[in-house]
Each structure stands twice: as structure tokens, then as C-alpha cells.
């Protein structure tokens, strides 16, 4: 099975039946949400709250705000489901929404500066393993751990700063004391290499 790249159509990961899921695929889940079925929201929360909360907590740095954002995202999605399965996976959509809003909140507060050393240990290639409800999420996590170990440290660090803190390339260049061109090149190579590594694993 390939990772969801590139996928103009519903991604196989999202549309494969999931053993514990009452929904055949993501489109059916979306339909249930649009029908305002509370079961659908429960399913959504049980399978994706960890992703949303973990990312929100990492960016915002405190539990109350992370929970507040998580609530905003899930209730907003339930009230008006803007997710379109044909444009990518649900987890990618939720990650994008969570990241955007969390960084937006940070910017509003003018509180986005972090100490670099915090990040050097933040993305451990081997975080504590936690049982997952969702088979495909477990698969993603394992593949990502492996891919990150194969990524040069400088590539990984730039991707982290860019993704989790929303820093511009010039801000990253300043923080790391590297030329802007180098930062751009490393970030692009890092993302491409990460994708290639993931694809190679998921094809096994």
C-alpha cells in the first residue's frame, strides 16, 4: 500500500474499511456528520482527538488552550463539515486546520518565540509508544518514526521549526545562523526525502 501521495482521488488509507469503524469510508463518515448524527462526532473524537490535541498542545504549550482549540475544531466540523475526502485524508485535513488555528492563536498573542533547545528534543524519533485506536494511524506513526531516523538532522530541525512554530524561512535562517538559501534548500530536500522514505516503507 502506498502512502497517500499523490492522490487526486480518495486516499486508500482513508477509504479502506477500518475494523472497528461503523463507516465504510471517509465519505460515509462525512455524510453522517452532515446528518448531525452524534455517533459520527463520537467516532471522530475517539479516533482523531489525540492527533488534534497533541498538535495543539505542542504548538500552544498549555492544556486549557489546546482543549479549547480542540473543542472549537470538532464542534466546528460537526456543525459544518468542510472536509472533502477527494482532496486528501481526514488526518491531513485535521492537522492542517489544527496547525493553522494554533499558529494563528500564537500570533494573536504575540507569543510565538520559543527557545530553540525545546525543539531539539521535541520530535524524538522514538517517542513513548502509545496504543492507538486507529490502525492506519499506528501505521503512519511507525513509518514516520523510521523515516525521521533516516532524515539528516538539519533537515528535520528546519521542518520542525517551519511546521510547528510557523516560522518563516528567514526567521529560521536567523535562528540557526544559516544562509536563507541553505534553509530553503534543506527544507525542500527534507520534505521530499521524508516523502520518499515513507513511500518506500508503505510499499512493503
Amino acid at each position: 500500500m502506498r502512502l497517500n501521495v499523490p492522490q487526486p482521488h480518495p486516499s486508500p488509507e482513508e477509504n479502506h474499511p477500518v475494523p472497528s469503524s461503523p463507516y465504510a469510508d471517509a465519505a460515509e463518515l462525512v455524510a453522517a456528520i452532515q446528518q448531525q448524527e452524534l455517533d459520527a462526532l463520537e467516532y471522530l473524537f475517539d479516533h482523531y482527538s489525540s492527533l488534534v490535541y497533541t498538535l495543539a498542545y505542542k504548538i500552544l504549550g498549555n492544556s486549557p488552550e489546546a482543549e479549547d482549540l480542540m473543542q472549537e475544531i470538532f464542534l466546528g466540523l460537526w456543525e459544518r463539515c468542510t472536509y472533502n475526502p477527494s482532496r486528501g485524508s481526514l488526518s491531513s485535513f485535521l492537522a492542517t486546520v489544527t496547525r493553522s488555528r494554533a499558529i494563528d492563536r500564537l500570533r494573536m498573542k504575540g507569543n510565538r518565540r520559543r527557545i530553540l533547545s525545546q525543539w531539539q528534543q521535541s520530535l524524538s524519533p522514538n517517542p513513548s509508544p502509545t496504543p492507538l485506536d486507529h490502525a492506519s494511524q499506528s501505521e503512519k506513526r511507525q513509518a514516520l518514526q523510521q523515516a525521521l531516523t533516516e532524515l539528516p538532522e538539519e533537515y528535520r530541525q528546519i521542518l520542525e521549526l517551519s511546521y510547528f512554530e510557523g516560522l518563516s524561512q528567514s526567521q529560521i535562517a536567523e535562528q540557526l545562523g544559516k544562509p536563507l538559501g541553505t534553509v530553503k534548500t534543506w527544507s525542500r530536500k527534507g520534505l521530499i526525502q521524508l516523502r520518499q522514505s515513507l513511500q518506500a516503507q508503505m510499499e512493503l
Binding site: L3, V5, P6, Q7, P8, L38, L41, F45, S49, Y53, T54, L55, Y57, K58, S63, A66, E67, M70, Q71, L75, L77, W78, E79, R80, T82, S89, S91, S92, A95, T96, T98, R99, S100, R101, I103, D104, S122, L123, S124, P127, S128, T130, K140, L144, L148, L159, E160, S162, Y163, F164, Q169, K184, S187, R188, K189, L191, I192, L194, R195, L198
Partner: protein, 310 residues
Amino acid sequence: MVDPTPHNRFEELAAGYVLGNLDSDEMAEFQQLAVEHPALWDEVTGLQETLDLLPFALAESQPQCSARDHIMQSAAQAASATAQQPTARPQTQRPWAKIFGSIAAVTTITLGMQTVHFQHQLAQVQQELAEQKSRMAALPSSTTSQATPRNVVITTTDTFVNQNWQGVEQILVDHRKSLKKGLKAVDIPSNQPIELAALLRAQAPMPSAMPILSQVSSKLLGGSVCTFGQSKGVRIMYDTDQHGQVSFYQIARTQKPELPQLTLEKLYLAIQDGPGGVFWSDGEFHYAIVSDLSADELKELTSSVEIVAS
């Protein structure tokens, strides 16, 4: 003929696009390639999916157990409130009612302001609608080709607009100027509405729930911050298959620029020898979609406006 663009250049540009670090020359090259090779968007999608896997590398955190109950309670209350609402809505739901309802619903849940905000807006809308009708009645009959409570279409000239609605004129001029800039028409290129909203919101007021054109053939190009007199807002641009570039303005309401007394009812202005537009407002923002389309085509395009919780 052999494609002269090597795959690694495709990848590099797509990665730069996803990471938001293309310079202007690279962006021009990217946009050109995207036109010639639509498969480039698949590359973008794949890389975006990859980037969005990064949260899975974090050590998992769990929200408190009460968070789940809280969300389910809020949702159940909202569902119950919806079920209790009378269903005697007009059978043909007005296009703006969908938007208005969405904004009100999101406001109800996220801000807990419940119906107070809604009622305030409703009163404001009713008052402005009355003013709008009064203003329309005072217009020369020759300028009004069709006037219904739902959609007002005015066919007029650039001179009339310039003399009467300077704010409208400024918006039309801004659209025309942006078209002349070609690929540099937007300061923040992005095809991701939520990302774009986050980036624009850092620089200008934005609606809490951003309207977007959801027509499949409309491709989001990006956005720019705009200032009209005392009003600040954003211009979000789309490329449409059939009708060229379309500008969707979202401008914070102030006394100036002088715009028609807009409401959620849509005002279509067909300007002779120039781009026309559709204009409307909610309680806080003016909205305008400007393009070279006819009023009928604008109506069709406007019907594809959806709210993105951004």
C-alpha cells in the same frame, strides 16, 4: 516532444510551494508549470500529506476525559436547538441564508453568545434592507433593470459608479490593477484556504468564518491585503476555467469608503465596458466578487460561496 522539465524540478517547486518558501520567480515558474502540467497539484497534495504526518512523530498527549463529555454535550444541545426550530422556512432558501445561518451557528457554539448576536444582526439586516429599498426607489428607473427583494441587478456606467459609490469604484479599480500584475497579483500565493486565511489574518481583519468560492473550476491563487480609505480588508483571487481571474473582497465595515447600503441581499452591478461585481455585507464585513462576468454568470458563481471555518 520530450518534456523539458525534469521531475526533480517539479518536486522542488512543489515542496517550496507547500512550505511557502518560493520566491517570486519560482512562484511564476510554479504557476506556469501548474497550468501546463496539472499533475503538479498531485505532487503538492502528496507533499502536503507528508508534511501533515509530522504530528504523528510527537509523543502523544491526551485531553482530559471531561473534554469528550463537554464536546458531546455542546453538540447535543446544538442539535436539540436545531430540532426545535420551526421548519416553516421558505421553500427556496435564499443563498445568503445559508451563509448567515452558518455564521450564526458557529457563533452560537463557539462564542456562546447564542441568539443575542443573531437577533442583533437580524435587526440590522432588516433596517438596512429597508434603507436599501428606499435608495433603490430613488434611483432613475432606467438604471434598474430588475429589482427583487432577493437580488438587485443594476446596469450602469463607470461614471455613475464613480460619482455615487466611490467605494465600489475603488474596488473595481483595485481588481483591474491586480489583473495587470499577472502572476504577481497576489502577495501571498496559496491554494489552501485555511492556510491563506491564517496568513492574511495576521495582517488584516478577516471574517471569523471565511467565505470561499467552492466551484470546482475555481482555483484559489492566493490573497493580498487591501486598504480602501479607512477600511482594511483582503482580496482573495481565483482563476476560473471559463471566466479568467475573479477577485473576492472581504473588507471590514466602516463609514468609508462610501458603498451602497449593503445587506445580506446581493447587489449585482453590471458596468458597461468594464468588470462588474456582486456586493453584499453582513454585520461586520463588506463582500464583493468582481470579474468580467455578466450578472447572470456572477449569480451562478456567487451561488458557490461556502463558509470555511478558518
